[in-house]
Every structure is written in structure tokens, then in C-alpha cells.
């Protein structure tokens, strides 16, 4: 009986391809195409230097996505802790001998590729936490000692990333993990305690922030304070945003963007450029695409039989949501500028690869939704 069952859950390559959620891939491609268009506009109507390279990266990323998706979810289950450990080691490594970029140690140069361990950690932490909470009984989740190990995992990861320093990624790691804790059934009051404790720690933590980070937060709280200095980015971004109006100034016609009033228009502030050129309509359309991706994420996750799959799916979806929310809120002046790119749209290879890797996991969850996973990775008894 065990043999037959096993065959039932082990799909052939062809079956897997059929099972792949192609609509989701189309959705991703559509969103990335919006990015190509905006990068084309950012270069004043040229494919070079950004749009063409972004297309290549998306292509490479799609290959990664397919490979990841076709690998059995149980393999990912078994590798979860290993990947986490690897990410941790890379983070330590980058601390020891990383190159200097943007005043922070973030990259490991692999020759052909700039590896950013903090990005790897975004995926690794989701995998590790999902595995840890997989099949945990409500009683065990209720016990505080049981929560110490996952808390340590989060603390080690976010601590190392914060030290780089990369405030944006740190926040994403903590919030993403929080969502998994939440889904795993950790009691609400415990979140309350942590939040209150975190608030209490803000004055202490403030002293550990770098000057530029402090400046960003002060600037956020009062951008008009220094309109030509650090507040310039936020102010100009809001002007570009607002001046787009409902219908926008037209593709390639954003004055704020093309006359360089808008900073970082091809990376972090690309949503501003889109809103300036295509207006509220364009902005809402992209938000709509993102919402569809989120809905797919939820549907795929909830269709999965295993708790691991569900947690990985929702974890990945939440991380994606955090990208979207933090970036857009940041360029509209709702939260401080923390340097989080707009997923699938902003120019940049690392984030694109991380995202498509995690969407690969999501698709793997989708393909292997019927696969049962035991406590230790074996099929359920």
C-alpha cells in the first residue's frame, strides 16, 4: 500500500509541467513587463542601459523559477535547515570579507554574480521557520520554550543583516517571520508583549543606528525641514506623484523623472515615475497586478495539504507583500526611505532572483500540493 501511495504522489516530469500554474507565470511576466516599460522610459526611450539587461535577468530568473518549482517540495523540506545554515554562514562571511557597497557590507563577489546573503536569508528563514512549525501541535506552540529556537533563528538572521547595516531587509525579515509565527498559532498576547518590548527598545536601538539611518528617519518625520538636503528625495517624489494626476503626463513625458528631479528613478523610485507618467490609473493597474499575485499566493497555499507547504506559500507571499507595501509607502512619503525595491519592476538582479526563486517555491507548493509530509520529511503514516 505504501508503494502505490508513493507513486501516487511522485509525479512524472510531464505531469509536473502540466500541474505548473501557468497563469501565475503569465501574471509575473506581465508585472515584469511593466517594469521593462518603465525602465525603457527611465532611459529616455532606450532599451539601454536598463530595460534590456532587466529582460535578460528576468529570463534567467524564470529558469531558476522552473527548476525550483519542479524540485519536490519534500526535498525543500529536507534542505530547509541546511539552507538556513548556509545563509547564516554567508552572512558571517560577508561581514568578514564582503565588498563595500553603499557604505554597507552586503555583497560577496562570485565573479559572475554579486551574491547578497541577506536576500538568500529572506528565502531561507521562511523555509526554516515553516519546517520548524510544520506539524507542531497547538500545545507545543503554546509553550514558550518551544518558541525559543525559532526566535533565535530570527534573531541571528536579522541581527547579522542589521549589522551590515540594512534596515529595510531587517524589518522585512522580522515582519515576515512574525507572519509565520502568527499563522502557526502563537497567542496574540505574546505578539503584544514583543511589540511593547520592541517599543521600549527603540530609544536603545536608536543609538545603534548609523547617522544616515537616523537622518532618514528624521527626514521622514519632517521632510520640509531640509528640502534641498536629505528631504529632497521625498519631496521631489511626492511632487512627481501628485503632478501625475489621474491620467498621468504620458509615457516618456514625466518631467520630474526625465529632468532628474526624481532620484533613483530606475530602482527604488520607479513606482513614482510610473505614477507620474501613467497617473492614478497606471498606479492602480500595477497595484491590481500585485493584488492578483497575492491572491494566487493565498489560493495556492491554502490548497496545499501539508502545513509546511502552506507556511512556505504564505511566508513567500507575505515577503512579496512586504516588498510592495514598503516600497510604495516609502515613495509616497508614508514611511521612511529604507531602500526596498519594487518587486519585479525595479532595476536590480539580486531582488529579481530572490523573488523568482521564492515564487518557484510557491509553484513547487502548488505542484506538490497533494504530497504528504511527515514530521521529519517522510510521507505521512
Amino acid at each position: 500500500m505504501r508503494d502505490i501511495r508513493l507513486n501516487e504522489f511522485d509525479l512524472t516530469f510531464g505531469q509536473k509541467l502540466l500541474q505548473l500554474n501557468w497563469m501565475f507565470v503569465v501574471l509575473l511576466a506581465a508585472t515584469a513587463s511593466v517594469g521593462f516599460a518603465m525602465l525603457y522610459s527611465a532611459a529616455n526611450g532606450n532599451l539601454d542601459p536598463w530595460a534590456s539587461r532587466q529582460m535578460v535577468r528576468f529570463g534567467v530568473g524564470l529558469c531558476v523559477l522552473f527548476v525550483v518549482a519542479l524540485i519536490d517540495i519534500r526535498v525543500w523540506f529536507r534542505l530547509a535547515y541546511f539552507i538556513y545554515a548556509l545563509a547564516l554562514v554567508l552572512l558571517v562571511l560577508v561581514e568578514v570579507k564582503g565588498s563595500i557597497g553603499m557604505g554597507a557590507q552586503r555583497w560577496i563577489n562570485l565573479g559572475f554574480f554579486q551574491l547578497q546573503p541577506s536576500e538568500v536569508m529572506k528565502v531561507a528563514l521562511v523555509l526554516a521557520l515553516a519546517r520548524y512549525f510544520h506539524g507542531a501541535s497547538p500545545e507545543s506552540v503554546g509553550r514558550i520554550p518551544f518558541l525559543l529556537i525559532p526566535l533565535l533563528m530570527v534573531a541571528a538572521a536579522s541581527g547579522l543583516v542589521l549589522k551590515q547595516p540594512d534596515l529595510g531587509t531587517t524589518l522585512m525579515l522580522i515582519m515576515g517571520s512574525g507572519a509565520i509565527f502568527f499563522l502557526a498559532g502563537v497567542r496574540m498576547w505574546k505578539f503584544g508583549v514583543v511589540i511593547v518590548a520592541a517599543m521600549g527598545a527603540i530609544p536603545v536601538g536608536w543609538q545603534f543606528l548609523h547617522t544616515y539611518q537616523k537622518k532618514r528617519i528624521i527626514t521622514f518625520l519632517n521632510p520640509e525641514n531640509d528640502p534641498l538636503g536629505a528631504g529632497y528625495h521625498i519631496t521631489q517624489s511626492k511632487i512627481a506623484f501628485g503632478s501625475g494626476g489621474v491620467s498621468g503626463k504620458g509615457f516618456l513625458l514625466g518631467s520630474q523623472s526625465h529632468l532628474n528631479f526624481l532620484p533613483e528613478k530606475q530602482t527604488d523610485f520607479i513606482f513614482t515615475m510610473l505614477a507620474e507618467e501613467l497617473g492614478l490609473v497606471g498606479g492602480l493597474a500595477l497595484l491590481g497586478l500585485y493584488l492578483l499575485i497575492l491572491i494566487y499566493g493565498y489560493v495556492i497555499s491554502l490548497q496545499c495539504r501539508s502545513q509546511f507547504g502552506r507556511l512556505v506559500g504564505l511566508g513567500v507571499t507575505t515577503t512579496f507583500f512586504l516588498y510592495v507595501f514598503i516600497n510604495i509607502a516609502m515613495v509616497m512619503g508614508l514611511i521612511p526611505v529604507v531602500g526596498v525595491p519594487l518587486p519585479l519592476v525595479s532595476y536590480g538582479g539580486t531582488a529579481m532572483l530572490t523573488l523568482l526563486f521564492s515564487f518557484g517555491l510557491l509553484l513547487s507548493v502548488s505542484i506538490h500540493r497533494e504530497a504528504p509530509i511527515g514530521r521529519r520529511g517522510a510521507e505521512e503514516e
Binding site: I239, A240, S243, V246, F261, L280, L284, T318, F321, F325
Partner: protein
């Protein structure tokens, strides 16, 4: 292991809550977008336009100043300068070094340039040197391949073709200072110049014109992307002066090295045909920037080149004032035309003794003889009889004692003393001796060369109260506005008295024995009448008088007498009046009269300029050089 129903329920609830939270956050994003792009759209649209647009002012060309025949006196010259655009060269230092080999750049200059390069954005040209010569321009053009980033740029700067001769009339232009700012945005343009004195200052507003605007699109670094809209300004108005530059040059040349002034005026219209003040200076030097040494030599010169002596120099008029005294006496009736006064060489008043310039005396002289030989005793006597009040009143009618309202600034009022003035200013009563001194144009009496010229004009035209002016017409956009010449009042002096005085002035120059007989114009058509004046600037002591008064040539320059001469011509039908004052020039007959004679002869030869409708001189008109239009 299987989940129980409770577990599923918990998971489902948590998932729903998480999803709900995300939806909530996404709606805040939508709300924010709505706020920015719908509610605040107009505000941000304006801000974006303000970001994008920049108004550039286009300075209008400054109006030209011409002489009465249209010869340009102040023009705008193209000024070649070499600039460096830092972004067009790999190394500003190397370009500067290479440029230094061509035009020679001092280390101070190069430090200044490098400092400016650091301060400005890399596409903003930095001036290396202005006012390049043609050779320099050619050298730079030839070496252009070795001078990346260096460029020849053309600007406009004011140029005065006859700067030395016209400096005091035209004034000069200079950079705008803090207190000149009036809100006209033109004034805030870097390098903009405004009139600082003379005609340039008085008519600055109309010469300046109105600035044009160019609306440009700029990027965040201020670089101009393209021009959106352009509105040409209005060039400044062209101003025609009453000055005849040919005559002006003769006057300046004739005064030569002397420190003095000469004014030629049309006795009917008040047109100033020449107004010279020497030594002068080159206003073009002000425009290119004076060195400290040049500036020190200008202000340290005891002949005061910066001073317009024609209107701001105040001198004791000496004997040139005697016509006024004579007219006052005739009007009061204290002396008849033929009545004589005996001159023994001096008169006594109380304990004081008043000397005639001629120690041995003139004997008995009447009015004409007294003026012809400039007898001082005669005038002591009639001044005593007339009284200071009558003399002062006559002097004021001829334009003394107050400014004449000339259309450039710097005019001084001179001084005509009377009893009220002395009490108010010095707190003392009037002494009769002072009346005697005023009778020969000394003591407190002060007059400017311009006032002397106006007095002469009013004598020559029979008492018409002409007022002097320099501006004859203003041409804006093809419409020419002539300076309106107000109908002048007569000063109400008996014409037979004026006739008598003119006869006396004729005797001065044209009858042997006259003080300026040697300087007469023998050609009857151009004959002039006039009066010499020699004013002491030092007190001659009794002891000196006994051993003999020291000759002027033996005195240091500062102690020599001021020499003056006033005259008009032609004698029969007067048209021009002239006044010449030479500071410490010795005697009026020796120094001032020959200069005045030459000027009067020149102005008559140059033509009948005061005839209405006549714009061209009839003879000796120099060809008008072709200058930039």
C-alpha cells in the same frame, strides 16, 4: 498525524486575519495615491512646473549716446572673452596650463578660476579673461585643439570712442551695487552695468531698455534642456546730445595740460555745444577695471581729473563779474553811461586801502573804459554806491547763486553773498569793504564756469533767461522726442544798459588798450567780444605790495591767480557764448582769452548750428565714421 478541526479553524482564522491586514495596508496605499494624485494634484502640478521651468532674463542692448550730428559717443562693443566649461575637459588644470602658454595666466588668476570651477556646476562657463585683443582671440582659435573646454564667448560692454574728451558729460557705467537695487530684475543679472554718473546716470532708465525673457526647461542640475518661449526685450533709447564732439575735442585739446574748464553755449537755445573739464580720465578704464595704482593716481592728482570743473568747480569770477556790477549800478542810476570815476591806483575805505591791479592808476574812466581796461577802482566806487543787495539781485537774474538745472548731476550753485546770507551763515554784519570786493568779483563771490557761460549768453541775447541743457532728443523705437525748449522769460534788464555793456566788451577785445586786444579775432565775420578775469587766490601783504607784487610765474602753482575769460560771437549778431576758467593759470588775458578765442572761432567755423531744422553743420563737418549700428 492529522489536524483536528480546532487547529484548522485557528489556521483559517489567522490566514484570514493576515489577508485582511494586508488588504487594509493596500487600501492605505490607494488612499494615499488618491490624496496625492487627485486631492493634491493641482498643487503638485504647479510645483512640478516650477521645478521644470526657469525664466532667464535677456539683457537689452543699452541705448547709444550720440552727439548733435549723430556721431556716437557711447556705444556697445563686442567684448571677447575666453571661458572654460569644466565638463568639456578632462582636466581644467591642464587646459588652464595650455591656455596660459597662449595668453599668459598668473597664478593668482588661475587660483581664482579653479575656485570658481569648484563652486559652479560643471556645465556653467567660468570666465578666464575678458576684453581679449584680436591677437589673443586668433591665438586661442588656432590652438583650439589643444584647449579642450576653452571657448571664446562674445558679450557686450560699453565703449566710449572719445572717452577722455567726453568722460565728464557722459559719465560711466559700472556694476550694480547693493543700494542701486530697485526691484528691476535686470539689475540682478551678473555683469549688468548701470550708469553711475553724467548722462549715463540721468537717463539710465531709458538707456537701459526693458529686458526680454526666455522661458527654458531646466533639469534638476539647472542645465537648460530647451527654450520653450522667448520674448524679446526693448533696447534702450538712443539719446542725442547738444554736444558737438568736434568742438568738444578742440576745447579739451586747447585746455591741454591746464587744470580748467570751458563751456560753449548757444545763446538762444541753451544748447551746450561743448563742456570741457581738464585733466580728464578714460571712462573705458573703469569698465575694464582700474588697477589700484591707476585709481590712486586718479584720486591723488591735485588737478582733480574726476571732477567736472565746468559745473562743480566754484571760482571767484574776478573781473568777469564786472558787467553785473555795471548793470546793477546803471539800473539804480548811481552812475551815468558817460560819468567818470577817477582811478589813482587805489581807494581808501576807513583804514583799509583797496588796490587797482594797475598800481599807477587809470586816471578818469567811464563805464566802457573801465570795462575795457578792467579798472578796479571804478568798480569799487560804483559797487559802494549801488550796495550789495542790488548787485546780488542783478547777479541772480543772470543765473548766479543757484543751480541752473542742468540735465546731469553734480552742478554746484556758486555763491552770491548778501547781508542776509552773511548773518545767517557767519553770524556777522556786512562790512562795506566786502561790497567793494564783490564789485570786482572777489571776496565771497563764487561762480561755476557754466554760470559764467550762461551769464554771457544772457548778456549776448539781450536778457533772455536761457537755461543750459545737454540732451537734445531721445529716440525710442523709431519715435523721436525732441527736448522741448521752454519759451524763456526776459530777465527785465534795460536793453540800452545791456547794449552799453556789450559795447564795452567789444572794446575789451577789439579796441587797442582792451585787456584782451591781443586775443582778438581779426576776421570781422567771426569777431568776438569778451571780458577777462584774474582772481587772486592769496592775500597780498602790505610789505609785498611795497617791494612789488610777486609775478605769477614766480609763485608755486597752487598760489597763482585763477584766469578766466567770458566772451560771445559774432559781435554783430551774437550766437555763441563761451566761458573759460584756468585754475592758477595766471592772468585772464594771457591764459584764458586765447583759449576762448580759439574755441569761439572754431564753433563759428563749424556752422550755423542753432538754426531750426538744421541738423548738419555747413562747413568743416567731419565725415561720420561708420560704427556699429
Amino acid at each position: 498525524m492529522q489536524w483536528d478541526t480546532d487547529q484548522y479553524k485557528l489556521f483559517g482564522r489567522r490566514t484570514a486575519m493576515l489577508a485582511g491586514g494586508k488588504l487594509l495596508l493596500l487600501s492605505t496605499l490607494v488612499g494615499r495615491m488618491y490624496y496625492l494624485q487627485v486631492l493634491q494634484a493641482d498643487r503638485y502640478k504647479t510645483l512640478a512646473e516650477e521645478n521644470r521651468m526657469s525664466m532667464r532674463l535677456l539683457p537689452p542692448p543699452r541705448g547709444r549716446i550720440l552727439d548733435r550730428y549723430g556721431i556716437p559717443l557711447a556705444v556697445n562693443e563686442q567684448n571677447y572673452r575666453v571661458v572654460i566649461i569644466p565638463e568639456q575637459t578632462k582636466s581644467v588644470k591642464e587646459t588652464l596650463l595650455a591656455l596660459g602658454k597662449v595668453i599668459g595666466i598668473s597664478s593668482t588668476e588661475s587660483r581664482r578660476i579653479l575656485r570658481e570651477v569648484k563652486r559652479k556646476r560643471s556645465f556653467v562657463p567660468v570666465t578666464v579673461r575678458e576684453n581679449l585683443t584680436w591677437e589673443d582671440v586668433a591665438q586661442i582659435e588656432v590652438n583650439a585643439p589643444d584647449l579642450p573646454g576653452a571657448m571664446i564667448d562674445v558679450g557686450e560692454s560699453r565703449y566710449y570712442p572719445d572717452g577722455y574728451e567726453t568722460a565728464h558729460i557722459l559719465g560711466y557705467v559700472a556694476a550694480v551695487s547693493e543700494k542701486d537695487l530697485t526691484g528691476d530684475p535686470l539689475l540682478e543679472l551678473p555683469g549688468f552695468r548701470i550708469g553711475k554718473s553724467g548722462i549715463e546716470k540721468v537717463h539710465d532708465l531709458i538707456l537701459r531698455g526693458t529686458g526680454g525673457t526666455s522661458q527654458v526647461e531646466v533639469n534638476a542640475y539647472g542645465r537648460v534642456i530647451r527654450e520653450l518661449n522667448r520674448q524679446e526685450g526693448k533696447p534702450g533709447a538712443e539719446i542725442k546730445l547738444s554736444i558737438d564732439i568736434g568742438l568738444q575735442k578742440v576745447a579739451v585739446e586747447r585746455l591741454g595740460e591746464e587744470s580748467g574748464a570751458a563751456v560753449v553755449i548757444d545763446i538762444h537755445t541753451g544748447d551746450i555745444l561743448a563742456m570741457a573739464s581738464t585733466p580728464s580720465y578714460d571712462p573705458n578704464a573703469f569698465n575694464r577695471g582700474l588697477s589700484t595704482k591707476e585709481w590712486k593716481s586718479l584720486i591723488g592728482n591735485n588737478r582733480k581729473p574726476l571732477n567736472n570743473k565746468a559745473i562743480s568747480g566754484q571760482y571767484a569770477p574776478g573781473s568777469t563779474f564786472k558787467m553785473i556790477v555795471a548793470l546793477a549800478a546803471l539800473e539804480k542810476g548811481v552812475i551815468g553811461p558817460e560819468q567818470k570815476v577817477f582811478c589813482s591806483g587805489h581807494v581808501e575805505l576807513g583804514t583799509a586801502r583797496f588796490h587797482c591791479w594797475k598800481k599807477r592808476g587809470h586816471g578818469a574812466v567811464d563805464l566802457v573804459q573801465a570795462i575795457q581796461s578792467s579798472c578796479d577802482v571804478y568798480f569799487y566806487e560804483i559797487a559802494r554806491r549801488t550796495g550789495i543787495e542790488r548787485i546780488a539781485s542783478m547777479a541772480r537774474r543772470f543765473g548766479f547763486g543757484s543751480s541752473l538745472g542742468l540735465d546731469i548731476s553734480g552742478e554746484r550753485s556758486g555763491l552770491i553773498p548778501d547781508k542776509g546770507w552773511k548773518r545767517a551763515e557767519l553770524g556777522e554784519g556786512w562790512h562795506q569793504g566786502e561790497t567793494l570786493l564783490a564789485g570786482i568779483g572777489q571776496g565771497y563771490v563764487l561762480a561755476t564756469p557754466l554760470q559764467l557761460a550762461v551769464m554771457t549768453a544772457r548778456l549776448a541775447n539781450g536778457g533772455e533767461a536761457v537755461r543750459p541743457h545737454l540732451t537734445s532728443s531721445i529716440q525710442t523705437d523709431g519715435t523721436k522726442v525732441n527736448k522741448e525748449i521752454k519759451a524763456v522769460k526776459n530777465i527785465g534788464v534795460n536793453s540800452s544798459h545791456i547794449e552799453l555793456v556789450r559795447k564795452a566788451m567789444n572794446a575789451v577785445t577789439n579796441i587797442p588798450g582792451g585787456t584782451a586786444f591781443r586775443s582778438r579775432i581779426s576776421d570781422q565775420r567771426y569777431a568776438m567780444a569778451g571780458k577777462t578775469g584774474t582772481a587772486q587766490v592769496r592775500r597780498i601783504s602790505k610789505a609785498e605790495r611795497e617791494v612789488g607784487v610777486i609775478k605769477n610765474k614766480d609763485l608755486p602753482w597752487e598760489q597763482r591767480d585763477h584766469a578766466s575769460f567770458v566772451g560771445f560771437a559774432p559781435v554783430d549778431a551774437p550766437r555763441y557764448a563761451v566761458a573759460v576758467v584756468v585754475e592758477h593759470g595766471g592772468s585772464g588775458s594771457k591764459t584764458a582769452a586765447p583759449i576762448a578765442r580759439d574755441i569761439l572761432l572754431e564753433v563759428q567755423k563749424r556752422g550755423a548750428v542753432s538754426q531750426p531744422g538744421q541738423d548738419q553743420p555747413m562747413i568743416d563737418q567731419p565725415p561720420i565714421p561708420e560704427r556699429d549700428a
